[in-house]
Every structure is written in C-alpha cells, then in structure tokens.
C-alpha cells in the first residue's frame, strides 16, 4: 500500500462529508447574486456593467471561499471528537499529522470545486452579458463603416474578458486555502469551534493590516519603543493577507506581472506549509 493512501482516503472522506452537509447550497446564493446583479446593471453603460459585474462577483467569490475555508475547517476537529470518529481513526496506524493533512486536503479540494463552480457561473454570466452588448452594438452601428464597427466590438470584448482574471481567481483560491491552514493551526489547540472561528476572524482583519504594521516597523519612524515592538510583533506573528488582494486592481484592468503572481503564490504555499506543520506539532501533543 502506498504511503500517502491514508491521507488521500481522509481527504476523499472529508470532501464527501462536506458535500453531504450541503455546503454547495451557497452556490444558489452566489448564482442569485451574480444573475440578479447582471439583470440590475443592464441600465448602465457597458463599461459600468462589466466593471460592477466583476466587482460584485469576484468580491462574493472571495467572501464565500473565505467563509467556507474558515467554517469547514473550524468545525471538523470538534465534530470528529464529538462523533468519536477521530478515536477510531487514530487507533489505526494513521499518524496525527497525516490525519490533519488529509483533512486539509479534503477542504482544499472542496475549495477548488467551489471556486471552479463560482468561476464558471461568473464567466457564463459575463459571456451572456457580453453577447447582449455585442448584439446591441451591432444593431446600433448597422450603417457604420466596418472599421468603426470592428473598433467598437474590440472595445466591448477588451472590457469584458482579460487574461488577468485567471491569476485573480487563482489568488482567491490560494488565500482561501491559506485561511483553512490558519484555522487548522488554531483549531489544533482550541477547545471549541466558536473560539476557532472568532480567533480566525480576528486574525483575518489583523492580517490585512500586517503590511501596514510591517512598513511602520521597517521605516524606522521615530516613535515610542513599545509602539515599534507592537508593530514588529504584528509583522512577525501574523500573515500578510493584503498581499493576496490582487483582484480589486485586476478588475480595474491592471495587468499582473508573472513574477508578482508567482511570488504571491509562493508566499501562499509557504504559509500553508508552515501553518500545517505547526498545527501538526501542537496536535501531536494534544490529549484527546
């Protein structure tokens, strides 16, 4: 039997369990939001329509994926202990770190499916709106010279889709898995899922200010010593979640350089690896 099979089995089981808990019902809300938004913005100019459709859809994608990551991860350890499934599992030759890794992989799989489904829905609505706008443009410019019509169509298509949406969506996924790993670390010593959720929510906000604290600390500003120590503590102990907020500017048409995307993805992978390792370290000594 391959060494990784317990991890994969736990991952598959976690994914199936979460699907059975009807986690994907959130997609109905997402669909309502995206389709409703698409119908509502029809009265705006096409530039405004596409801008707002992307703003709301990618924002909702980020909210939903973060919520799934935090809630699903915070819930599994207390639930497994309550159901006593964890005792059955760990009584077998399954090391604790593999149990955690399997659970995280299952949640990551769920997040990948959720982000893929939301992206498909978002892109389908965007494509439908683009088709409508293109049909309107062709009708309005029926008598115009072909060069002008081609330029107008080019303007519409350039506003709708651009290749940068893909790294933007990828970063949303990476941030969600990072949050899952962070929640996993907290739940490794937490006594209840409420505590884990509250702590992760607090860390979520602090994480978005980490870059500000880091800059403040590194700038060497002439301030009170305790103020600098506080900024240093925030910079060192908390993740830089602001680094994963690329979508706001991607929506506005800013191109993502490959180096920036790769470095951001690398930073995300590092955080995920370290939080998972720390969770395993703490969970190893936990009395069950």
């Amino acid at each position: 039997m391959r060494r990784s099979s317990p991890t994969l089995a736990i991952a598959a089981n976690t994914f199936t369990e979460l699907v059975r808990q009807k986690v994907f019902f959130f997609l109905l809300v997402f669909a309502l939001l995206v389709i409703g938004n698409s119908a509502f913005v029809a009265k705006f100019s096409f530039q405004e329509q596409f801008q707002m459709l992307k703003d709301i859809s990618l924002g909702a994608m980020s909210v939903f994926s973060s919520l799934i990551a935090i809630l699903a991860t915070a819930n599994f350890l207390p639930k497994d202990m309550e159901d006593r499934t964890i005792y059955t599992l760990l009584a077998k030759p399954v090391p604790r770190h593999r149990y955690l890794l399997g659970k995280l992989c299952g949640i990551a799989l769920l997040l990948a499916a959720a982000v893929a489904l939301m992206s498909a829905l978002f892109l389908a609505v965007l494509w439908l709106r683009e088709s409508t706008v293109l049909a309107e443009t062709r009708a309005q410019m029926a008598g115009a010279p072909p060069v002008e019509l081609a330029a107008a169509i080019r303007e519409v298509t350039a506003t709708t889709f651009n290749a940068n949406l893909a790294p933007g969506i990828a970063v949303i996924f990476i941030k969600a898995v990072l949050l899952a790993a962070l929640t996993l670390f907290i739940s490794s010593f937490a006594t209840s899922s409420i505590f884990t959720i509250l702590m992760t929510a607090a860390l979520y906000f602090i994480g978005h200010l980490q870059a500000t604290a880091r800059e403040y600390w590194l700038s060497g500003a002439d301030v009170e010593w305790w103020s600098r120590i506080l900024a240093a503590a925030v910079a060192v102990l908390f993740p830089d979640l602001q680094a994963f907020n690329l979508t706001d500017d991607i929506i506005a048409g800013t191109a993502v350089p490959l180096a920036l995307f790769l470095n951001t993805a690398g930073l995300g992978a590092l955080y995920i690896a370290v939080y998972t390792a720390l969770a395993a370290l703490v969970f190893q000594g936990r009395e069950l």
Partner: protein
Amino acid sequence: MILRKAAAVALLAAFGAAVIPLQTLIQSEARAAHFQKTSLDIGLREKVGQSGFLAALSGFRSPIAALLWIEAHSAWERTEWGRMAGLFDTVTTLQPRSIPYWDLSAWHMAWNASVAAMQNEKQPSEALRLRAQRAYIQLGKDFLERGIKNNPDRHQLHLALAVLLRDKLSDHCAAAGEFLKAASFPGAPPYAARFAGYEMAKCPGREREAYDHLRRLYEQGEKQRLPSLINVLRDLENRLDIPAGARIQDATPDPT
C-alpha cells in the same frame, strides 16, 4: 503540551521574520505594477463609514465601490449633483485604477452637472449660474487629473482630459498637449495624434509645429490622409506661406 505551544509560537515568529524580505519584495513588485494604490486612511474612513472602512480593510474595496456607484447612479436620476460628486470621490478613492469610474465621474460633472447648473431656474443670477457651471467643469477636470496621476500607464484619461479642455474650456494649447500624451502610449487610437495636430493648429504660436506634426502623419500614408487632416494642412500651408512646391499634392480637394 505547553512546551509544544511555546515552540510553535517561537517557530511562527522565526518564520514570520524570515519571510519579511519576500513580503517586502511582493509589496514593491505590486506597487511597481500599480497594485494597492488605495490609501486606507482616516480620510477614507470618513467617506465610507465604519463598516465600509472595515470592509475596505478586509480586501473588499471593489464591491463597496460598485455599491456606491449604484448609489451615485440613483443620485443622478434625482439630479443630486453635490451628492454625486461626493460619491464619485469615494468610489474613485476606493478604486483608483478603474478608468470608467474616473472617466464617467468627470463626464457627469463637466457635462451633465455643468449644463444643469447653467439651466438652474431656481438661481436668477446668471453670474452665479455661470460660476456654478465653471465649478462643475473644474471638478470634472480635477477628476481626470487625479485619475491620470493614479493611472500613469494608460492613455484613456489623457484623451478624456483633452476632449474636456477642447470642448468645455476651449484651451486648445493644453488639449493638444493631452492628445499628444495619449498618442504616445502604445495601443492609443490613431485619431489621438491627428487631434493633437488639429488642436495645435488652433494654438497661437504653434502653427509651424502643428504643420510639421500633421505633415509627418500625412506622409505615413492613406490611413492618415483624412479630409479633416488635409483641410487643416492646407489651411496651415496658407497661413505659413509654404512654397507651392513644398505643399501637399493631394488630389481630393475639399474646400469646406
């Protein structure tokens, strides 16, 4: 267990310190690529309120901007120009890289609000109506200038500013400069360079420069030899007294 927790915190701190150079690199790369330009400061807090500010801090700037834009649209339907200006200011602060937000904010102010101010029946004084009109045009110009500062890598707002300077302020010299700046960007529409020449031709003292510029475009071939360009070139040839042998030999006369 306590020892493990202490070790975890120590390792977390060590990792946090080790990863700082990468975080700083990503931040500088992001800023160089025009990401994260929004300054989340007390000014923004006052504009968007506490919950909006919290959402903006959490990485939800763009959905908030979209919602405020819809609110601004409702204000437009009720012709609340002052409220619109405030909302546009907030939206553009939240999404400084969005060209449509800057462009449309400026258009609403310089075109719609300025005309409404001039036609305001509640204001009997023409001088005050005129002053309000100019204030709105200036506000539109201000939006475009701030938009350009936030988007130095894009041509669209230079074009919009050039049109505003030409049509609303009749400042042909400044309009020529903005059309020229727009034309210098890769991907700018070909008419930007032509329009720069037309505006230069209307700018006192720059006739020769306008002639040389338009002549260069003319020499590029049929694509640039539009009736307007030929007309302006011919007018400039007359004004500059260009010798007959050096004049353009276009066979499509258009005396209008």
